[in-house]
């Protein structure tokens, strides 16, 4: 059986190709990914896509309804707000601020959380416990409340609110990583790697991390949807991004004053936030089941 190599030409998909195939077989997940990609393109290429400067005010074009309305014009696709700013441009830039900063802060929280969690998981005894519960006090309070407290201390602003949410999201990563690393360290394949002479760092990167991706994806998407909601909530409460900054939550708050005159100034940013969060959750769910299928079939 061994001297023939009949199947040398066969295509062997890499793990990621397999995951991608599984992912694409779910239509809802693919749709979610398309929506998410759409918003990602918005946030990456905002200056190219947006037809107007999001901050430019135009006194001659106040409260123009969206283009599908009878009174709307095609030059302002989503209409204009109370100061005559083009709503479409503001939403495109708003995606950049809200989604972009959320992704950034989730990445920071993930790296910090996984590092602390791994150290806690590999250590034993009191030291592990101390490191594990270092940030536990933050878990007792809802994310938004911590953010409000931090903003109250440091002052309002987008960057401060980002720090606040990062800090609030980190403990979850610490806990999940630690319990995951603990259970994996007891398994025999880790012992086998240890007998191969792997030190703790090699053990983590080569043995445990490949199995941890599924958990990270799940936790990452949960954290990302929380981050988007929190950033826009803080913006809405005037604690996060300051009003001229085109942030979706802040835009929502701006529109509230004129909601009866110009309902689109509230509805469209709100719909954008809703779609972003929905897409993130759908993609996360699809990715999780795809990753699970990859290893179990």
């Amino acid at each position: 059986m061994a001297q023939f190599s009949l199947y040398q030409e066969e295509f062997h998909p890499s793990p990621w190709q397999k995951t991608w195939r599984e992912f694409r077989s779910s239509h809802i997940a693919s749709l979610g990914l398309m929506i998410l990609l759409f918003f990602l393109v918005f946030s990456l290429f905002a200056p190219i896509i947006a037809p107007y400067d999001p901050l430019q005010q135009n006194v001659n074009a106040l409260f123009i309804p969206p283009s599908w309305n009878v009174n709307g014009t095609i030059s302002h696709l989503f209409g204009t707000d109370a100061l005559g700013r083009d709503l479409f441009s503001r939403i495109v830039y708003g995606c950049r601020v809200t989604l972009g900063s959320s992704i950034l802060l989730v990445l920071v929280a993930m790296v910090v959380g996984v590092t602390i969690g791994t150290i806690a998981g590999m250590l034993e005894g009191v030291r592990s416990s101390v490191i594990n519960h270092l940030l536990d006090a933050l878990m007792a309070i809802p994310t938004l409340l911590i953010a409000i407290i931090i903003v109250a201390v440091l002052g309002t602003g987008l960057v401060n609110s980002m720090w606040a949410i990062t800090l609030a999201l980190t403990p979850q990563f610490v806990h999940h990583t630690r319990s995951f690393v603990r259970t994996e360290m007891k398994k025999e394949y880790v012992l086998a790697s240890k007998l191969d002479g792997a030190n703790h760092l090699q053990l983590f990167f080569y043995s445990i991390l490949p199995n941890m991706i599924e958990m990270l994806v799940v936790q990452g998407t949960i954290a990302l949807s929380i981050a988007v909601i929190d950033i826009s909530a803080l913006g809405f409460l005037n604690l996060g991004a300051r009003p001229p900054v085109p942030e979706l939550g802040a835009m929502l708050a701006d529109g509230m004053d004129v909601a009866y005159v110009a309902p689109w100034t509230v509805a469209l940013p709100g719909l954008t936030i809703f779609l972003i969060v929905l897409a993130i959750n759908v993609v996360g769910d699809g990715l999780r089941s795809a990753l699970r299928k990859r290893l179990t079939q």
């Binding site: 199947y7 066969e10 080569y206 290893l295 179990t296």
Partner: protein, 264 residues
Amino acid sequence: MSEILKVNQLYFKHCNKKSWLKKPEVFELGPIDLDVRRGETIAIIGENRAGKSLLAKLLVGALKADSGEITLNSHFAHHAYQPSHISHDVRMIFQFSGEAMNPGLPVGKILDEPLRLNTKYNEIERRKLVEEVLIKVGLLREHIYFYRHMLSDGQQQRVALARALILQPKILVADEPFAALDPSVRSQTVNLILKLQSEMGLAFIFISHNLGIVRHLADKIIVMENGQIVESGKTETIFRWPQHDTTKKLILAYQSLVPQQTLR
């Protein structure tokens, strides 16, 4: 026949403290003396909880002994020897070879790991060695891309064997390597090990409850009970003239299952 492993007064104490109110359960292993020669096959038999797996783990260095010494290849090595040392010359096959395979890595990466950590080969040479060892244990080159869940139990066992063999060890320690296999795959694996043993001059220490295989494979048998070696000797001697009560029980149980092979 030269000695390659000598175990001298190996002792290990396992203290299981379940709660501070209960009396802790203490399990003592040893002191154990053992000689392993080149190309020799030693079987460890005994009842459950006799300390067989523990002894195997001590031999490969997965656990640290409390006292005593393990001398490897006539150059002195204490129980706390360097990890690099151990992984080269004494390799282990685990009881559940499926669990000893990383579910998130393909077979190629799993087999690459011991090479990457212990040798100075570059990537192309390592890849070649991995392919060679896969063919040696009767798998195909294509299995490099396979994950754990795609392989059957017998194939997983072969991967575990390949992983143990890839560093060209002198001693192979196996913890019930044949327990989970069906009879035909089991005999294939047994024959494979016999073949490799004659090719590479391996010493093979294995734990088994299947006395038929023990009789077929082993040169020497060690009978353990409660962490002690109660009897040891040549296979045929032990099978024909068992001395200790435990040995007698085990052998009798085996012979009542196989009525043709009565004592003569």
